[in-house]
């Protein structure tokens, strides 16, 4: 205390206030952070806890209606569901893996192209980043129109070169790959952005040294640039894979509830959404979401461990 207040006698009340003040002074970094920490806790931990609780009940119809505690009943039902749950897991993995691999390879290629300065560089960069700023639902609607089997532009274009019309989003086998294509179109720019940031921060000396030693372009990329860029690549993989796992908007915008009449694009997220918003089976839906949550946590854990190993 820089300002001292003189009091005739130190009463016990004042002493108590002062000792609390001293304590508060000592712990002020915690005290000031407390409101924010409580806020985050309430927003993250409470919903998670509530979902976990719901997943152990047979809550349906309305979450405010009475429900029975059924232990792990929902989990056994979900895990033994080979009609909807496991195919949805398969689609989620297929969607994420395909989108991720293509986006990383394509993203790396574009980032390498944009790395060195060239004429009109700014314009090219802006054009490439455009899909990233579009709203996913609007993107979904746009591609849905383009891929319409009867009136869409995609089939119109194919007809110019004599290729018969394709079912695209309406085909049972082609719907999921078509949505993956849309994801690639929209999110490759983000990968480009991250990798480009990584590339520009790389030291030039190593590349020059390799050049002096007579390494060709492939060798310089695979043996010099890529290993140096590994940490950035893992960040991009981490961000993109979590996002791709959770994809919902473009799937819902293009195929609607249940991922289409044959659940062609029903991933775990779409399935959980359908369970709660169409079927009002909140207990079951919560169980699916908790399982999904564990899958994502597990995946992240593996990736961050690898990243730490790198560092």
């Amino acid at each position: 205390m820089s300002v001292s207040v003189k009091t005739p006698v130190d009463t016990p009340k004042v002493t108590a206030a002062r000792s609390f003040s001293d304590w508060a002074n000592k712990h002020r970094k915690w005290l000031f952070a407390a409101p924010a920490m409580i806020f985050v806790g309430v927003l993250i931990i409470f919903p998670l806890g509530w979902t976990l609780y719901l997943s152990l009940t047979d809550s349906h119809g309305s979450v405010r209606a009475s429900s029975d505690f059924i232990g792990l009943g929902n989990y056994t039902t979900v895990l033994s569901d080979f009609d909807r749950f496991w195919p949805a897991v398969g689609r989620t993995v297929y969607f994420t893996a395909t989108a991720l691999v293509v986006e990383m390879v394509l993203g790396m290629m574009i980032a390498l192209l944009l790395w060195r300065p060239f004429r009109g560089e700014k314009w090219v960069r802006v054009a490439i980043l455009l899909p990233l700023v579009a709203t996913p639902v609007a993107v979904g609607m746009m591609w849905r129109l383009i891929f319409d089997p009867n009136m869409g532009f995609a089939n119109q274009m194919l007809s110019w070169v004599g290729i018969p019309p394709q079912p695209w989003l309406s085909g049972q086998a082609t719907a999921l790959p078509t949505t993956i294509f849309m994801d690639i179109w929209q999110w490759t720019p983000m990968v480009v952005l991250i990798l480009l940031a990584g590339l520009t921060s790389l030291p030039e000396e190593t590349d020059e040294a390799a050049r002096v030693d007579g390494a060709n372009a492939w060798q310089r990329f695979f043996l010099v640039t890529l290993p140096l860029l590994k940490a950035t690549v893992i960040v991009a993989v981490l961000l993109r894979s979590i996002d791709a796992l959770k994809t919902f908007d473009i799937l819902y915008a293009t195929k609607g509830k249940g991922g289409g009449s044959f659940h062609e694009v029903e991933t775990l997220n779409v399935y959980a959404y359908g369970l709660s918003f169409d079927y009002n089976e909140y207990g079951m839906s919560s169980a699916v979401l908790i399982i999904f949550f564990l899958i994502i946590i597990g995946f992240m854990w593996i990736l961050t461990r690898r990243r730490k190993g790198q560092n």
């Binding site: 300002v3 005290l31 609607g256 509830k257 079927y279 009002n280």
Partner: protein
């Protein structure tokens, strides 16, 4: 109305933020002068600021003159929206309108009503889709005494069928606003050119679809909804006309009867054999209607309440070439559904129920129902149908088709259960199997088992 309020709210939030900032900068000044005079004071501020911001959120218009009305996108809503200033003037109330697409509306209700919101006063809902679920969850206020309170408004004037579907356990929970029946839309010009008469039976329909389509390259013989869930209501009329139903008299699933199997095979077969090339199984009415109004199909079966989409020159390329007829007869005759598709209810948690009722009373009055019906929305009031003005704006053939369907119609277009969305997906499965050329009889048998299992647990 709605926008003005949002702007006011935004200004309010800015005001609040400014207060907080001023508060904050004052705090820094004091800190400079007195250094760390007392952490306690700062702490108090740190605690108060977030709460201050929180207190600035949300406005509370409970039991005031502001009425929050949630409506679906529909021709009916457009009419009401235009007339709301008139209601605001007469009642002195202010209406905040939220308008959403069907699916978004359902989701909105699911989230908000589940949380026990009082932010919705009047709600437009689908009695056959969500009515039972909402009433069971006690989302809908009991209107039994309200409907009897005003003799001039005349509850007895509402048709019995629609009224029964907005009644739950002998309590009135909603007032029907829109009714609909399935009718046949067709291209008059193409039929005439091909010398084909308007089909009266299902067999004639198939033959005509085949013949007219063959004479017009690129034009499909038949189009209708194809999405597993969306198609159920339009398929139901085919099911009844073939002599089947989703559930039999004893409450058991009846999707695997010979009649039902024949209906599935016929509806799906029409689309598979005479539908648009590469027919998608994602079509609800907007997609199917688009194919018809683009001039790409000869026949289309759909709800009559959507007819304006086909006859409005701004929306349809074939506006002056569309004819209407009653649903062709199957082996059991022509049995289209005749149902109330939408109703107005009051959120049971609303603190503004009396005013909400005033709105419903106005929106469902004889005058408003007549105005809506003239604008192309078939209403639920008998007096309006009896009034020649009520049908004066309808195409003559549509008026006849509606009159026929109202007389011979069946009162439901989907299974009457609580979890309707799930039931629709189950009974819709054989439809898409048939559309894609699969074994619809096998799919019907599988669906029947699943549907029975569903019925056993739908409580």
């Amino acid at each position: 109305m709605f926008y003005e309020t949002s702007i006011t709210n935004t200004a309010y939030v800015f005001e609040c933020q400014r207060t907080v900032w001023n508060f904050g900068s004052g705090l820094i000044e004091r800190e400079v002068v007195m250094k760390r005079r007392s952490v306690l004071q700062l702490l108090a501020v740190a605690v108060v600021v977030p709460f201050g911001v929180a207190a600035c959120g949300g406005t509370d218009s409970k039991a005031t003159g502001t009425l929050r009305v949630t409506l679906a996108n529909h021709v009916w809503t457009e009419g009401i929206k235009a007339a709301i200033p008139e209601f605001e003037k007469d009642s002195g109330l202010k209406v905040e309108l939220t308008q959403l697409g069907e699916d978004q509306l359902s989701d909105q209700y699911n989230v908000k009503l589940n949380a026990g919101t009082n932010e919705i006063d009047v709600m437009m809902y689908r009695p056959l889709q969500e009515g039972k679920l909402f009433a069971k969850n006690k989302y809908l206020a009991d209107l039994s005494s309200n409907v009897k309170s005003d003799a001039a408004w005349d509850w007895a004037d509402f048709q019995k069928g629609p009224v029964s579907s907005t009644t739950f356990e002998n309590k009135v929970v909603g007032v029907p606003i829109i009714t609909e029946r399935e009718v046949l839309y067709y291209r008059k010009d193409l039929l005439e050119a091909a010398g084909v008469a308007v089909p009266k039976t299902m067999e004639e329909l198939e033959a005509a679809a085949k013949k007219v389509s063959a004479a017009n390259k690129g034009v499909a013989g038949f189009v209708a909804r194809t999405n597993k869930s969306a198609a159920v209501t339009q398929f139901s009329s085919f099911l009844y006309s073939f002599g089947g139903d989703f559930i039999d008299g004893s409450g058991k699933a009846s999707l695997d009867t010979p009649e039902a199997k024949a209906a599935y095979a016929f509806y799906g077969g029409l689309l598979h054999n005479h539908g648009p090339a590469n027919v998608s199984t994602d079509m609800s009415w907007p997609e199917a209607m688009a194919i018809f109004t683009q001039g790409n199909a000869v026949f289309y079966t759909e709800a009559d309440s959507l007819y304006k989409n086909a006859t409005d020159t701004a929306k349809s390329k074939v506006a002056d070439k569309v004819g209407f007829a009653a649903l062709p007869a199957g082996p059991a005759g022509s049995k289209p559904y005749n149902v109330p598709s939408w109703a107005l209810g009051i959120n049971d948690a609303s603190g503004n129920k009396d005013n909400a009722w005033k709105f419903i009373q106005w929106a469902t009055s004889k005058a408003r129902t007549l105005a809506a019906q003239k604008a192309g929305v078939p209403g639920p009031r008998s007096s309006v149908w009896a009034d020649p003005a009520g049908t004066s704006t309808y195409p003559k053939d549509l008026g006849e088709a509606i009159a026929f369907s109202a007389e011979h119609g069946i009162g439901h277009d989907r299974p009457l259960v609580i979890a309707v969305a799930k039931a629709r997906e189950i009974v819709g499965e054989p439809i898409v199997t048939a559309i894609t050329g699969g074994d619809s009889a096998g799919a019907a048998a599988t669906a029947n088992t699943a549907f029975q299992k569903f019925l056993d647990t739908d409580k």
